[in-house]
């Protein structure tokens, strides 16, 4: 008898075989468009990537109402790269969007790399060899407020809540890793694939935009439990992160929480997009590791070992804490991170965001401490009601002693590329031309 897990695995392998067949058939021609996309085994964005399940042939469709890389489960590697855009009119901006669309179509589907005259530089960095495999790659394009603010012909089309990321009280923002006209969120099973994609895009768009900053990260790969459900990945504080995320496979919920609809007072071109908040949050890990275990749990509001809420320590991370039954914060302190961020009452439902973070480990600070932390990324249909409100609730939390937001930015994730004849941002360009 097949259990659901086996079924899932066999359909996964079936897709994998179809992909392999597609790859063989088109290896000379270039594109892998005919191949079906591998069914993702992830249940939701918060789940960790599943051990041994990732394949170079995994692919996420790049066409659709919404861009890929938002409600899809996280692969093991993620990166945000921010650029300054040169475009000074709608034609130039369209050219950039078309370049990005073309590169995204190739990189996320895969295919063979064109061979040029060896007297010329190669067309491709060659990081992935002569045949580029999709490797679960998604490239998500979002626009910063400065792109609109600095261009009078675009300014009237700025999404309502898009703004330059403000300084929150615990921030120590480093101008070198903040803001930008355009962000790329690049995610894939392996780091080579994200780096290959970034280098490909930089090469293809050198006249149109310049790299400002980037931050890479990853999430641990986890073996699913007996019920097939993968637990949330741990962050560099050692706690499960994302337990309270909304279910990203619930289309109606994503329409409510993540995607901008027609009734939110946003410009018509923006429907189907989302607000992206990126924060580079350094963790003082040495100090955290020297903090009493009980205090760590009280600061976060979860048990460290399983992620269960503090009022049901024997439960699981997916149990919902009962704050109404703990009005004085005896089980979960009133200023615990998860309690401040989400009170779990009717009013707090308006502020739910979809978090899609990666851990980062950069190097060593001037003081000889580890430069590690969280590349926090979240999506929401309303930036004010989402990230900004939640962060304001967190201002002054005890966790602040151990974390320092140093970079990031606010961006607007463009609606999807609808079909092969469409290009990214076409609705914005049409609106800019007054068409």
């Amino acid at each position: 008898m097949l259990d659901p897990k086996d079924l899932q695995r066999s359909s996964y392998h079936l897709n994998r075989r179809r992909l392999l067949a597609g790859l063989g058939a088109t290896a000379v021609g270039g594109s892998l468009t005919g191949a079906a996309s591998a069914e993702t085994m992830h249940h939701s964005v918060a789940d960790a990537p599943v051990a041994n399940a990732a394949s170079q042939l995994d692919s996420v469709p790049h066409l659709g109402l919404h861009q890929a890389g938002v409600v899809n489960g996280r692969p093991a590697n993620g990166m945000v790269a921010s650029f300054d855009v040169l475009a000074s009119n709608a034609d130039e901006l369209e050219a950039l969007f078309r370049t990005l669309t073309e590169r995204i179509a190739f990189l996320t589907v895969g295919g063979s790399v064109p061979m040029l005259d060896p007297k010329l530089p190669p067309a491709d960095s060659g990081l992935l060899g002569p045949i580029v495999r999709p490797d679960n790659l998604t490239i998500t394009v979002s626009l910063g407020a400065s792109l609109f603010d600095d261009r009078p012909w675009l300014a009237p089309l700025k999404p309502r809540h898009l703004q330059r990321m403000m300084r929150f009280p615990n921030d120590a923002l480093d101008a070198d890793i903040c803001h930008g006209d355009l962000s790329l969120q690049i995610c894939a099973n392996t780091q080579d694939t994200t780096i290959h994609a970034l280098r490909d895009i930089i090469k293809a768009s050198s006249r149109q935009m310049i790299l400002k900053w980037k931050q890479e990260g990853n999430v641990p790969v986890i073996t699913p439990g007996p019920d097939g459900r993968a637990e949330s990945a741990r962050n560099f504080l050692g706690f499960r992160d994302g337990s309270a995320n909304p279910d990203s496979s619930d289309v109606a919920e994503m329409d409510r929480v993540v995607w901008v609809g027609a009734d939110e007072g946003e410009p018509a071109w923006a429907v189907g997009g989302s607000y992206q908040a990126v924060r580079i949050i350094r963790n003082f890990v040495e100090r955290w590791d020297r903090t009493p275990f009980g205090e760590q749990e009280r600061i976060m509001g979860r048990t460290k070992m399983t992620g269960a809420p503090l009022d049901r320590r024997q439960g699981s991370e997916f149990d919902v804490p009962d704050y109404a039954g703990d009005p004085e914060g005896k089980a979960t302190p009133m200023d615990a991170h998860i309690r401040l961020a989400n009170e779990r009452d009717e009013a707090s439902k308006a502020h739910i965001i979809l978090r899609r973070p990666f851990n980062y480990s950069n190097g060593v600070t001037q003081s000889g401490q580890l430069d590690q932390g969280l590349l926090f990324i979240c999506y929401q249909a309303n930036l004010e009601r989402g990230f900004i409100t939640v962060q304001q609730k967190l201002n002054g939390e005890p966790l602040e002693e151990y974390i320092k937001p140093v970079g990031g930015g606010f961006f607007y994730t463009l609606p999807g590329i609808r079909d092969a004849s469409d290009y990214l941002g076409s609705s914005l360009i049409a609106a800019a031309r007054g068409a």
Binding site: P169, A175, R287, P292, E295
Partner: protein, 272 residues
């Protein structure tokens, strides 16, 4: 309760909400905490006095005098930082650094000691610093007022010893704290004195059980003292750039070890 006449309200609240072990420890802590509160008030009185003289010099345009007073004035603040930091708004306006602001030194929001330090050393001038000085003095007085009415949480007091070492380990050993004046060794002195004071106050409570622990901690404080002593200059210290690489490594290792060891002090005293 019979003991309520003896113990402060905070200790009592703590006892009521804690287990038996903590209860015993907490009673023992009443005296050290009361003594620590006196230590902090003395430091705060000194801080207000010194900051008044310092900001007066800044406002009078006396650059040299202000430079002379800068490091000694900070000494008392650095010694009580774990308590001062309980008020994060005041800590930010008194002691934040240019890195905390996106436009760094040019940021109009950059306040406090280090904003004045920047003007004095980088510009050799007090121009435009009068409002910053007024605000600094007002903040320091506000801090004194708030701490006077603060109930000292025992775990914050005892944990403060480690917090002081964490401060040095995370952002001071690099010399980035007083980057314009290079008076970092004065700050170190304040931080170490503050940490040692806390250890000394609770010492009698663990002297028997934790003799080896105390010996290690004392040895590391000794290492710090011996190293700092080499750089003594009059009442204070030479500039941070005079510190040799070898001595910086010795200090860094001592600080990291003290941070590790002192992070267990709360637990050893039964504090949650």
């Amino acid at each position: 309760m019979r003991m309520s006449g003896l113990v402060g309200a905070s200790a009592l609240a703590f006892i009521l909400s804690s287990g038996a072990f903590a209860q015993e420890a907490s009673l023992d802590l009443v005296e050290p905490i009361a003594e620590y509160k006196i230590y902090v008030s003395e430091k705060l009185a000194k801080l207000v006095e010194d900051t008044t003289a310092f900001t007066d010099a800044v406002k009078a345009g006396e650059v040299d005098k202000a430079k002379e007073l800068f490091a000694p004035t900070r000494l008392s603040y650095e010694a009580i930082e774990p308590i001062a930091e309980l008020f994060s708004d005041l800590d930010a306006s008194i002691d934040s650094r240019a890195d905390d602001y996106e436009k760094a030194e040019a940021d109009p929001e950059f306040p406090g000691f280090h904003r004045i330090e920047y003007g004095l050393w980088e510009k050799n001038s007090t121009e435009g610093l009068a409002p910053v000085a007024d605000k600094l003095l007002a903040d320091v007085k506000e801090l004194e007022g708030r701490i006077a009415s603060l109930t000292f949480p025992p775990e914050k007091v005892v944990g403060g010893a480690a917090v002081l070492m964490e401060e040095v380990a995370a952002t001071k050993i690099s010399g980035e704290e007083d980057r314009y004046s290079h008076t970092d060794l004065w700050d170190f002195r304040g931080n170490f004195d503050g940490a040692r004071k806390i250890v000394d106050l609770v010492r009698p409570l663990i002297a028997d059980k934790e003799a080896d622990f105390l010996k290690t901690v004392d040895a590391n404080f000794e290492t710090v003292d011996t190293t700092l002593a080499k750089y003594k200059d009059g009442e204070g210290y030479v500039t941070y750039d005079k510190l040799t690489d070898d001595d910086r490594k010795v200090l860094a290792a001592a600080v990291n070890t003290l941070a590790e060891d002192l992070s267990t002090l709360r637990g050893k005293l039964g504090l949650d």
